[in-house]
Symmetry: C2
Subunit: 461 residues, 2 copies
């Protein structure tokens, strides 16, 4: 099977009009039950065919003994049955013209069963199927509502439709990020956990998302890259169009050893990976926190330099931000004379018109509005860090709209820093869901901003 | 006034039997109103005297024109009136025998009014008062319920009684940490934001907390240290008894410049500070995130080495943890033969009895219990990282008690990693409130653990 056909058939996996759930079950602890229920609860708009030779009906849907017994077109099969039965089910799918398959079932190369996995590859190749897995969590597309994540929605939230697409070799890491995105109010375009990568691998997925208009930002968690040369050639091409953030696990010898028994992947060679990512203009994250922090900043408009304005209602937080600016090799902007004049015009006498701009603890939304407007149009400022401490008496929810409005002008990148508990978290979620990336500390915000400015420099728009 | 007397009088500030709120007001947007209301709502057990010459009664309490007019003993005054009136009020407090004063009011050295500040120092010295501030948020003691934090409780949560005491030069940074602690379910012993440090400075507070039995762990945010030699001599002494975590802001030239207009402090000389902290065996945090992450690990029992066991129900997260262990110069423990045997005894056939120990996605609380018991008693293991992904079907809330129980044996330090949204956050809070420090990622957990093991090595118990 040509690689192109395989990649093209991924469309059926992400946007199926009809799905067969092989291993559908009445038992709520079974994966086949959770996946079926998630499609029903999630409002999947296409046809759903539960497959189980021992049931007549599950969750109100007619049940079929096999895919070929349906007698109608099926785009994609989601398979969760014992490993020994997967090949036969897949063969049946192939005969029935199914183009995409998500094999959730484990017990293949990750436990040394290379032969079992090779058989799946042979079948997928024979029928030209885009096979995701085995040993994976599969796909989530909040737009088409296909959702093979077999974890309950009350435990793992589903994000709304958005720009970020996430390719994860690990289901667990992928699930964590999806859950974090849902909690933060961040939208996602596509999510895929590809497990053992028997047929469809990280490079195929990257190729597919390159052309997917809904995917504005691509985020990857990889333990191993199967064909480095091919991956690099694709990555180099994709990063010309879209930012790609990557976290490579198994970067140390011990980590690599752990990865081997996890997804059967040979990882390692840390420095080689690092150099390759850099050469391809990918943005490398060094931890799960960074991966999430970086992912959400790339929706910002490109910056034209590295001079940062800090606007704050907490002096100490401004000092910490100034330290972070310097540590990350960025510069503190020097406000222009006209900006300084404008600031003096509205600031109270006990505030100083300098950067970091401390609006002082009694700043209200109106003072933030004047300050953000002033620094947004200052030609000496390339990007803005707005520190919003929601604990103060004067700062109320109305500042959220002020910040979103300033950010919506899309003249300069802007990030928000909000450190605090419940009341703060609520407002962070609103900001994030409106496209203003928020961070829990000056250092995490400015680390992400520095990565984004690095990307901006290489990819001016 | 001798330094000892001043420090001794801090007891009155943290544990007053009677307080005067100078500047108490009926206007809910005034600091003097919020502080009074917080004491009433918080259930402060002592006497409260609102001071306002223009009111008869505020929030149901009889109002006095001045502290001397009360005619009864007052331990501490919390002062929030215009800066020009502070000296006279303080003088009146001195005459009335008040031992502690928290001056919230700003407008002193931080805006160039050195003379005004010098006057406060003269008065405090004359009467031997322990004066906190000016330009500060003051004190919070969840045990005595004194609470001069002038921010509403619905915006800035108050933590329950616990071991961590926090000394913060900045009110804003201090408020953020208090709010984070409340949200995380972490208890605090004392909190103090000391602002301009006109009388009581960081070293006095450190001295005081050294002898405070309720303060098990001391955390500091400083922008400048006034008397380096004295600070170091005290810090060196304190760290022999209690861990001290410190975040120094204004560590870069630009940050130092910002600090100057914030609390009037001369900061800077990054490397000198770094070296000094190390020499005094303080644990340095480099960001707000680290400060918070490190603070909560020191309640753990001391470790006797640096061999880490990782227990997880998500393979990828285990790989990331293994990478972090190596990056932080720790070692992955090699399980003993008897542990390996024990693990094989209860693990399902598709799991491997190696470190990182992947209990696999279908692990339930019972499997965690067996695994934690096995590694807890393995002589080859010095500390445990328990990764708990609450998104899986099988892992329910009962694992929280298992982890708390294993940790309660206090044989080895144990931290938990829980990455995810709402359901996960709920369980994190329970674990944190029971003394098992939780982290949102393997990297943040293991960074904190590495700092703690460094401390353990220097201070074995």
């Amino acid at each position: 099977m040509s690689s192109e056909k395989k990649i093209k058939n991924l469309y059926a996996v992400f946007n199926p009009k009809s799905i067969a759930i092989i291993g559908a079950s009445r038992n709520p602890t079974k994966i086949g039950h959770v996946v079926l229920k998630n499609h029903l609860d999630g409002g999947f708009g296409g046809k759903i065919y539960p497959i189980n030779p021992e049931a007549e009906e599950i969750l109100g849907l007619k049940c079929y003994p096999s895919v070929s017994a349906i007698g109608k077109k099926v785009d994609t099969a989601i398979i969760s049955i014992p490993s020994k039965m997967v090949a036969a089910a897949l063969e049946d799918c192939g005969k029935a013209g199914v183009r995409g398959a998500v094999v959730i079932t484990g017990g293949f190369s990750e436990v040394g069963n290379a032969e079992g996995e090779a058989e799946l590859v042979r079948i997928a190749d024979k029928y030209g199927m885009a096979l995701i897995g085995p040993n994976c969590m599969g796909v989530l597309n909040p737009a088409s509502r296909v959702d093979s994540i077999f974890l309950p929605i009350y435990k793992l939230g589903r994000p709304h439709v958005g720009d970020i697409s996430f390719i994860s070799q690990s289901g667990a890491v992928g699930g964590c990020i999806v859950d974090l995105a849902a909690r933060a109010g961040l939208g996602m375009a596509k999510f895929v956990s590809y497990g053992n990568a028997a047929v469809i691998d990280e490079t195929d997925l990257l190729s597919y998302l390159e052309k997917d208009e809904k995917s504005g930002i691509i985020v990857m968690y990889v333990e191993a890259i199967r064909d480095g040369r091919r991956f690099m050639s694709v990555a180099r091409r994709v990063t010309k169009k879209k930012p790609v953030v990557v976290l490579k696990a198994g970067i140390t010898a011990q980590g690599a050893e752990a990865a081997k028994s996890h997804t059967g992947a040979i990882a390692g060679a840390a420095e080689a990976y690092k150099a390759a990512f850099k050469q391809c203009n990918m943005t490398e994250a060094e931890s799960l926190d960074e991966l999430f922090d970086f992912a959400k900043i790339f929706y910002q408009p490109r910056a034209h330099g590295r001079r940062i304005a800090i606007v704050t209602n907490g002096g100490g937080n401004g000092v910490l931000a100034a330290d972070s600016v310097v540590k990350n090799n960025l510069e503190l902007a020097q406000f222009s004379d006209s900006t300084t004049k404008e600031l003096i015009g509205f600031l109270p006498p006990y505030a100083t018109a300098k950067n970091p701009l401390d609006l002082v603890g009694d700043a209200d939304a109106h003072r933030y509005e004047s300050a953000l407007n002033a620094v947004m149009k200052d030609p000496n400022v390339d990007a803005i860090v707005a520190i919003l401490l929601f604990q103060t008496v004067q700062l109320d929810s109305s500042v959220v709209n002020i910040v979103v409005k300033a950010s919506d002008l899309r003249q300069k990148p802007m990030v928000a820093v909000c450190t605090g508990g419940e009341y703060t978290e609520l407002h962070r979620r609103i900001l994030d869901s409106y496209g203003v990336p928020t961070y829990p500390s000056p250092s995490s915000a400015i680390r992400a901003l520095a990565k984004f400015l690095e990307f901006s420099k290489k990819h001016p728009k």
